[in-house]
């Protein structure tokens, strides 16, 4: 399968019911908030137009393409969210391997 290329488009950040979304054309995607994407920072972007980097069907970053620094966590606009079910699966896998404490 050919590798999808990242595409940067213009999008708008919107807020609804304490959740944040980015609208690109007619498509609306939720921006997951979490440790590295803070709701407070997103609130400041509501209503503004931002560059949105898309790979296939995934939004991988909003705002400027992150300038990443050696050994310092990347710009908070780097969007990444691990689904809890996948995380639990990996926790179980590495607990069974004796690496993580059981029940993690």
């Amino acid at each position: 399968m050919p590798t999808p290329k990242p595409v940067t488009k213009e999008g708008a950040v919107i807020a609804k019911n304490r959740k944040y979304f980015v609208r690109v054309g007619r498509s609306v995607k939720e921006i997951p908030t979490g440790p590295l994407v803070s709701a407070a920072d997103l609130r400041k972007l509501v209503g503004s137009t931002v560059p949105v980097t898309i790979v296939g069907k995934s939004v991988v970053s909003i705002g400027r393409r992150p300038g990443i620094l050696c050994y310092v966590p990347a710009d908070p606009w780097l969007v990444g969210l691990v689904q809890p079910a996948l995380q639990r699966m990996l926790q179980q896998k590495y607990a069974e391997a004796g690496i993580l404490a059981a029940g993690e």
């Binding site: 440790p35 590295l36 991988v60 990443i68 620094l69 050994y71 310092v72 990444g80 590495y94 404490a101």
Partner: protein, 360 residues
């Protein structure tokens, strides 16, 4: 903020190395002091109050948002949670760059909420991690420390330094990082220094190994949704980067708005954590005066003629990779990052070895 009559410098982050001391002996360690570390109680070490004051002074000249507390191993300082607390109370984000082994419940309980712990994990194989960290038992202690931090809902980022020794295990390392609740992965290819140059052949992955490691990181980002930043620059002349659309490639800010000037344990300022060049002393000089002087600007300016002639679309962000590595290893920031050549040589050696094996 700066005085009204003066421009405010753009820098939003700074690294503070609170100590040079470290109880690990990582094979890839780039710290220029690794052979001659100042001890934890070395004369001239900034006190908790002095760190707050120095950061406050930087803040007067910049819109500073984030401070990375690094070392050495910063958690060797008993007052690290309070240092982090001071900075958080001043409205700054705090990142602690640590091997994680000293994260006890007692210490974690004293850190301000919102602290990000960036922990180093080199492999999901305990023996390999310990070998790279240079300390038996390091893996188990790192895992337990990070588990404790995760249970307390601290923000976590995994930093994996990728070398020839662990390039094959990137997939499992990222998986383990996700299981430990890391929300972001930093894929840091080894960055050479004067101390590691002699063993570059054993440490720098070949182009093929690097490609495999990036493919593993790309697949982990795609499958698990974790954000992966390739933080230490990989010049596109080593391998094409457009095959990894889920990875975010970083470049040296070269003194631009995203620069992260680094404060040493004694208050002296350097261009970044990798460089040994002393730009000035923040105990006696103003941050703005140091970073705007010609000697500082001159550090960032040179670009290798080879790189100036490069035709890759990434030329203007790459500009030769890590200038600090070039300066440390080759004597000038205006030469091509030594990683480029060693990575290629490593690939040639691997090919010769493969051909020899096939010929037998």
């Amino acid at each position: 903020m700066g005085r009204p009559d003066e421009p405010v410098l753009p820098f939003a982050q700074v690294v503070v190395e609170v100590t040079q001391a470290c109880h690990h002996h990582c094979l890839h360690c780039y710290n220029f002091w690794r052979a001659d570390r100042a001890p934890l109680t070395a004369p001239g070490t900034l006190s908790r109050a002095e760190i707050r004051a120095v950061v406050g002074r930087i803040r007067r000249d910049t819109p500073l948002r984030q401070v990375a507390l690094s070392g050495g191993e910063p958690l060797l300082r008993p007052d690290l949670p309070e240092i982090a607390g001071d900075l958080a109370a001043d409205g700054l984000g705090v990142v602690v760059i640590t091997n994680g082994t000293l994260l006890t419940d007692e210490r974690l309980g004293r850190f301000p909420a919102g602290t990000i712990f960036e922990f180093t994990l080199f492999s999901a194989d305990p023996g390999l991690h310990d070998r790279i960290a240079g300390r038996p038992g390091a893996f188990r202690r790192t895992i337990r420390g990070i588990e404790r931090a995760g249970r307390r809902h601290f923000r976590l980022a995994l930093a994996c330094v990728v070398t020839r020794l662990n390039a094959h295990d990137v997939w499992r390392t990222i998986e383990l990082g996700i299981a430990l609740r890391a929300e972001e992965v930093l894929f840091n290819r080894i960055n050479l220094s004067r101390a590691t140059l002699a063993s570059a052949g054993e440490l720098v992955p070949s182009v093929g190994q690097l490609r495999q490691a990036l493919e593993a990181a790309e697949e982990a980002a795609r499958r698990y949704g974790v954000a992966v930043a390739v933080a230490v620059p990989i010049p596109p002349c080593v391998l094409p980067l457009d095959r990894y659309p889920h990875l975010h490639f970083g470049w040296c800010p070269r003194g631009g708005p995203e620069a992260y000037y680094t404060v040493g344990y004694d208050g002296r300022l350097r261009p970044c954590n990798h460089s040994s060049v002393i730009l000035g002393d923040l105990r006696t000089e103003r941050f703005a005066d140091i970073v705007t002087r010609e000697a500082t600007r001159a550090f960032w300016r040179p670009v290798s003629p080879i790189c100036r002639a490069c035709t890759d679309p990434l030329r203007d962000v790459c500009r030769g990779g890590c200038p600090a590595a070039s300066d440390e290893c080759l004597g000038s920031p205006g030469l091509v990052d030594p990683f480029v050549e060693t990575c290629r040589r490593s690939e040639e050696a691997r090919r010769r070895q493969t051909a020899d094996c096939a010929g037998r």
